[in-house]
Amino acid sequence: MSKYRVIFEDPEQPEQSAMVLVPSDNWLEEAKAGLLPPISVYWALQDDEQQAIAEGRHATFKHDPDKHAAQWKAPRIGPLTEEEAIEYLVMKDIPRHIWSQEYNRPMFKIVKTEEVPSDRQFRNAWRIAA
């Protein structure tokens, strides 16, 4: 199990509680084995899909076959440490506006697993501590 979790909030949804990203053990093993494609492969897919959503054609949207195949055909980036893999995961799985822009307080934090509360009391009111 990963030593880390990522806590994040969405500034576009201020009423939303803080979210907790839990990495997959299988995915972490792939990252450590050097099996991941460049992060740009995922960004290209996300960009195309977001454009389709914005243009109202998501219901019939299909990825460009070459861009989709790049997920397994693009050259691998090589082995990552667990810390590097978590940074990669932030850029892959957390919406880009959360980590790519500066806000007046942190919108995400990488924390040790044991730092996440061990009970779920007031779960819907969790916030990132200052």
């Binding site: 779920r120 779960r123 819907n124």
Partner: protein, 125 residues
């Protein structure tokens, strides 16, 4: 009868193979959010985000080619009672449905969104 032994099976172009008349799950999760968050087991999933009580987002390792896949699953309470109440496209943060991620919600008909000891979900295309 022949035996095929291989570590990886791909198409001649290096992509995912098509299995004629077979429709395996493209991804699945066994997710616990009753106490602490634990991704107990999964396939083709890079992470799961705990959004709020009963609501979580699954992020796929390899994106689907189109957002036309289905999800099916059930949740399991502490006493083993099966509650077939996994949904998606819900409000309150579980409203994602893209090729790279999907919002899921586990709902009790009486108590609303609920954290369960196990949420097991298949994603099929």
């Amino acid at each position: 009868m022949s035996t095929i032994k291989a570590s990886t099976i791909q198409t001649s172009a290096g992509g995912a193979v098509t299995l004629t008349d077979l429709y395996p799950a493209k991804a699945w999760i066994n997710w616990q959010n009753k106490t602490t968050n634990v991704l107990v087991a999964s396939a083709n999933v890079s992470s799961v985000a705990d959004v709020q009580v009963g609501v979580f987002t699954t992020n796929f390792s390899t994106a689907f080619s189109a957002a036309t896949y289905l999800c099916a699953g059930c949740s399991n309470t502490n006493n083993g009672t099966q509650v077939p109440a996994i949904g998606f496209g819900t409000s309150n943060g579980g409203n994602t449905y893209t090729t790279t991620s999907i919002g899921n919600a586990a709902e009790d008909v009486d108590a609303g969104y609920t954290d369960y000891i196990n949420n097991t979900i298949l994603y099929l295309a």
